[in-house]
Subunit: 735 residues, 2 copies
């Protein structure tokens, strides 16, 4: 048996989750110390000895009072826009969730005709398991729990982001280091809330369900998989809806404002400027959070359900059973320490220190986590045990499981760094692309496309190696814990990711409030580092999605009682071919949606510039609300067809062509989706940044890393929606 | 037994091939009637009653003598450039072919220690087969034969194309119909020469080899597969080398000439203009020919080798054995009749009739061919027979084989028409993209990308259905004959394809010779139709490549004695993942090559404009030869790394990771390659045409279908090289 007792596990997991929540509340309090009310702030400030520093950096000739007031006003508009969008989105998502919950209940309950009698277990032969009706009820509950947790985490993340953006702007007056800490702390609030909430709710749900299920662990953990499906459902809509919103607003604002009218980015005269800033929060914060939460919940559930039919579950070894949760718990502690390196142990003094500081976060968390995993594998696992492997039981050692989780963790780091290498202006790829622009846009397009394709190579090898290692050691359980390993540092990953849009917003607020160029330069520097590190975050999201999808694929195959998926049979092969096409189809839909929404936005912005007198002169205010409404309506409407494709494909293929073809479709869309995603993430960063610049502003052309729109306006939507596609497509057929 | 006797087959196949060759010679003679020497032409012209027509269309105010002289001079320069490039290319390819031939010989011969003793057959147990040494010798010979036939066909195609371009220009003075017929006849020369040569050489080789092999058909047809490998090898280098050449010259000429200097396309002052026109001939004519020849030879060989170990081969039923060759023979006759519809039965009078006429070619040939296949399947096959299917024999009826071939044929037509739908300006996709340009390049990029992705959907379903039908009926043999069905109308397909670059060249010559705008408008109209139909041709190339690759995949799996390729094993799965990445890697290499070569070209053209006095004023002649040399050197040098990737991947993966992983790699690159290719073909047509226009010329922007460079400068290289990749990657491990 394991070194860690069951009681120890029962204490450790919730304790770590609560530590995470407390830590994020502390961060929130620290951020809230930056006051948005000018009078009190000046008072408290002058009463301390920080006055000198403050005055040095103060606005030149501008009235401090009115600037702070303006910032508060703009922040308010953004926050209101984001809240109202999320409420609208949640209404539709709520209807969907309820309908889907009913469907799950009816579908699962009808298996045994809603009987309340116990039945023989499907894996643990000879034992009696709880009735299908119970499974239906508890699956439905965990589905709703997963959805609600995701919604709550996304919503809180959006709240802190819209709370922190103006504060980051104000702190930028004191120095780049102060602004960085404010933005990063706010990102950390989001990261820790999500990781800790996800873990805590899952833990509580398992313990509550156990009151009913008792010794029927097989039934218990099967019901728990609803939690993952709930998370994925929200991810699907959060990503697609939020993605369409943010990109439509972004393109609309830039095309008319910057290109046609020649006014700066984030200029308050631009009617779409509020919608644009709202978009960063609903897409990049709430959407990204929902996405990673989905992967996290899915991989935990996939590992747990395999555990329950392996020796852990059969022997009722609770500590080993909770191995996936313990890893996540330790992950929270590791990320906590890592965060202190950015906010407390070191201080950022110059712009060029920002990107290395963010990169250091990844390295530190990975190294600490490796030790953490080793420790957990040693104390929480028996030295030898068996893992369910497509019908048979496979003997696994604890060090092998350590290697599985470690392979996932380090593959994540490699993917992150390769993505960074290809998208950062400090290395040759971006410099080469910039160089190719000497001869114009055409050679630039070729070079950008080539690099985008090239960037796929190493990440694919990294994923392949981690799959090979974890699959060889512990079959599908290995894959699931490898995904968990990659996601174990999710709190840090999300902090880095959320930091980007917050800095972006801060820059926008500085511009709109009419603050000096020096402030804008600082926020731009923060934002530039955020753009590159955001690409790293996307690399993580893709890698973990690939692993999770594979684990779910394994679960699907086991459940469908398929013993081989043979490429040499026509059914599987055409499935593979059609499946490989699906990511393209899905992307076509989402991009068309962005295009249509952007068209409407452009027309509205043009209309306002043409019909509102005094708008260009700054004497009249634009109608921000209409633009917000256009983005909201378009994204709500347009998220339906891609959502339907993802949900209906497995149902239609499975029903019409059978499970073998479906297995082929799932495998095909998995391998092709990963390529499409990785390719798009780098190519769009590389290509749009210079290309769009060269189209819009200056034919002579110079890479400007600090401009927001450069980082690719469809990158976001394509990658993240495909991630969701993969996850959701697998899950839906499992239920 | 079949209705057609063995003697009948022995007569039918070579007769059809010879008819094809004679027909193409006749076409060549008809083209040569257009004289390039002005004096004689005027004389012969005034002596007939065609004078009136001729004079009406004659150049306004320009000296006829000097115009014709100039055309001849330009044609000469293009022809010389193309010939010299092909000679250089063939030198390198020749060295490679010899080295590779030696390798094949040593590799195959050493299997049995170069023994000259007969050995038991591997499939036809109990019989004695010829020694491995014989197999090595004859495989090597057929490899070289395949390579030589491909080279010869490509070279002759280039010759007729450079012979016909100026003649098309001159005929354009008489009317668009005359010019069309000249260009189309020249395309037909290429198409028929290739199809007939390929068939005839293969037929002769089989009959000569049979003198030695006698009754050992298993050994005979195994040796014959070298023919396919030879064709694929040339395709690899022809496509990559020619593709890099043409696109580097194209981008270089347009970027400096059109964009920076504002001179028209094909202006004689542009130093890269000859290189550009040479590129069309070496890339789109010689390269395309080699590519389709590769597919054609591979599918014939794949079908023959499966036949030889099926009941046809075991029972020595020669007519049934030659079923693949008989289909190709009938295909030549069908294409012959089809060609007459374009050149003799109807006459084109207006510009808008060109595209429908080309489309009609496809429809007519497909309908006639369907009847042809039915007839062949009835007379050449027994009503019931067995086909080798991964170790067992499967019973197949003759009508089932008809359906296999027909499925391939019609899938080709569907793919062609979908490609046309997405790339022609008469339908909504292109119009939508054009419409999206109202709001600027950004929305245009989004819409173009979305449509490119969308265009993949229907072709993938068409391929999937034909795979399912043919695989279910006749296993891998079914797939091979489905590919042959798609390629049975290759003569017509190639005629349409080659017609494009010839018209393109004709326009260039009109511009360079200083002919009037009316002539240029006519050649532009021819070229525009050619661009869209060229996209159709590429659809065919991709579809047939997918089928052929699958057939080769089947052959590989049989040979490697793998019974299942199970996606659920880690070895296969990581193979799938890595394989799906390879097309991206390969594309990255080829595009980087194009980019580097284009950079050099741009610099050279700029240098000439800056240093040669009087160049812009038209008083000094540019140094065409240096530009031709840059393209030649770059493409020769740059074709090595992608070639190495294709050839080394199967060897390295197979040696290090074993055959299961290799099977996964091959399947992965097959399914992913097809998507990448189809996506790129449409997207680039859609996107560059408007996008590059919008970058280069007019921000207000209007779709101009008649401009050459618009049709996508990397479309070509990506698709076609991947096609080759698929074919070659499979073949190399088989030998």
């Amino acid at each position: 048996m394991a070194i860690l007792s069951d009681l120890g596990t029962e204490i450790l997991v919730p304790a770590c989750a609560i530590v995470g929540i407390v830590f994020s509340v502390v961060q929130w309090i620290l951020v809230s110390r930056v006051k948005l009310s000018p009078e009190r702030h000046s008072l408290s400030n002058s009463s301390k000895n920080g006055t000198a520093e403050y005055l040095i950096e103060e606005e030149e000739g501008l009235n401090d009072h009115s600037v702070v007031h303006k910032c508060a006003e703009i922040q308010n508009a953004i926050s209101e826009g984001a809240t109202s969008f999320l409420y609208t989105e949640y209404q539709y998502v709520g209807i969907f969730m309820v309908a889907f919950a009913i469907l799950i209940f009816v579908f699962l309950g009808s298996v045994e005709g809603f009987s309340t009698k116990s039945q023989p277990c499907s894996y643990n032969k000879g034992e009696m398991c709880k009735p299908a009706l119970a499974n239906a009820i508890f699956s439905t509950i965990s589905f709703l729990l997963g959805g609600l947790t995701s919604l709550l985490s996304g919503f809180l993340g959006m709240k802190i982001a819209t709370y922190a953006n103006a504060r980051t702007t104000l702190e930028a007056r004191k120095g780049v280091g102060k602004a960085f800490i404010t933005a990063f702390r706010s990102g950390a609030v989001m990261g820790f809330l999500l990781a800790a909430n996800g873990l805590l709710v899952l833990y509580i749900a398992i313990n509550l369900f156990k009151i009913y299920y008792g010794d029927d662990w097989e039934g218990l953990f099967e019901a728990i998989t609803g939690y993952g499906l709930g998370g994925s459902s929200i991810a699907l809509f959060g990503r697609v809806g939020g993605g369409i919103y943010t990109k439509a607003a972004d393109v609309g604002a830039d095309l008319v404002g910057k290109v046609e009218r020649g006014i700066p980015e984030d200029d308050p005269r631009n009617p779409a400027v509020i919608a644009d800033n709202v978009g960063d929060n609903v897409g990049d914060i709430a959407g990204m959070g929902a996405d990673l939460f989905g992967s996290y919940a899915e991989s935990s559930c996939a590992a747990l359900v395999v555990s329950s039919i392996s020796s852990f579950g059969i022997n009722h070894d609770m500590t080993a059973m909770f191995y996936p949760l313990i890893i996540s718990s330790i992950g929270i502690l590791v990320c906590l320490i890592t965060t202190l390196f950015a906010t407390d142990f070191f201080e950022i003094k110059a712009v060029k220190e920002i990107e290395p500081a963010l990169k250091k976060q990844l390295i530190i968390s990975t190294i600490l986590m490796t030790a953490g995993i080793a420790f957990v594998s040693w104390i929480a696992l028996p030295s030898s045990f068996t893992i369910f492997n497509f019908g048979s039981q496979k003997v696994v050692k604890n060090w092998q499981l350590f290697l599985c989780v470690g392979a996932g963790l380090w593959a994540g780091l490699i993917i992150g760094f390769v993505t960074e290498y290809y998208t950062s202006n400090t290395y040759s790829p971006v410099q080469d692309v910039a160089d190719s622009c000497r001869t114009g846009a055409a050679t630039n397009v070729i070079f950008g496309l080539a690099l985008g394709y090239k960037s796929v190579i190493i990440p694919i090898f990294a994923i392949a190696v981690s799959i090979f290692v974890s699959f060889s050691f512990a079959a599908m359980y290995g894959i699931a814990v490898a995904a968990l390993g990659m996601l174990s540092t999710i709190a840090t990953g999300l902090a880095i990711d959320a930091y980007g849009p917050i800095s972006d917003n801060a820059g926008g607020i500085a511009e709109m409030a009419g603050m000096s160029h020096r402030i804008r330069e600082r926020t731009d520097a923060l934002d530039a580092a955020g753009n590159t590190t955001a690409a790293i975050g996307k690399g993580f999201a893709i890698g973990s999605a690939a692993l999770v999808s594979l684990a779910l694929f394994g679960a699907f195959v086991s459940r469908a009682a398929i013993s081989t998926v043979d490429v040499l049979t026509p059914k599987v092969f055409i499935g593979l071919l059609v499946g490989a096409m699906l990511p393209y189809w899905f992307s076509a839909m989402t991009m068309k949606s962005v295009g249509s929404a952007a068209l409407k936005m452009v027309e509205e912005v043009r209309r306002q510039f043409n019909t509102i007198p005094g708008l260009m002169e700054g004497t009249a205010k634009p109608d921000y609300a209409t633009c917000v409404k256009i983005s909201t309506d378009a994204s709500i409407k347009e998220m339906i067809p891609p959502g339907a494709l993802v949900m209906l494909t497995p149902l239609i293929v499975g029903t019409l062509l059978g499970v073998e073809t479906l297995a082929g479709v799932l495998a095909g869309s998995l391998v092709s989706g990963v390529q499409v995603m990785l390719n798009v993430v780098v190519r769009c960063v590389l290509q749009n940044r210079p290309l769009i610049n060269s189209i819009f502003s200056e034919p002579g052309f110079k890479i400007q890393l600090s401009k927001k729109q450069d980082s690719g306006f469809f990158r976001f939507i394509v990658i993240t929606t495909i991630t969701t596609f993969l996850l959701f497509g697998f899950q839906i057929f499992l239920k």
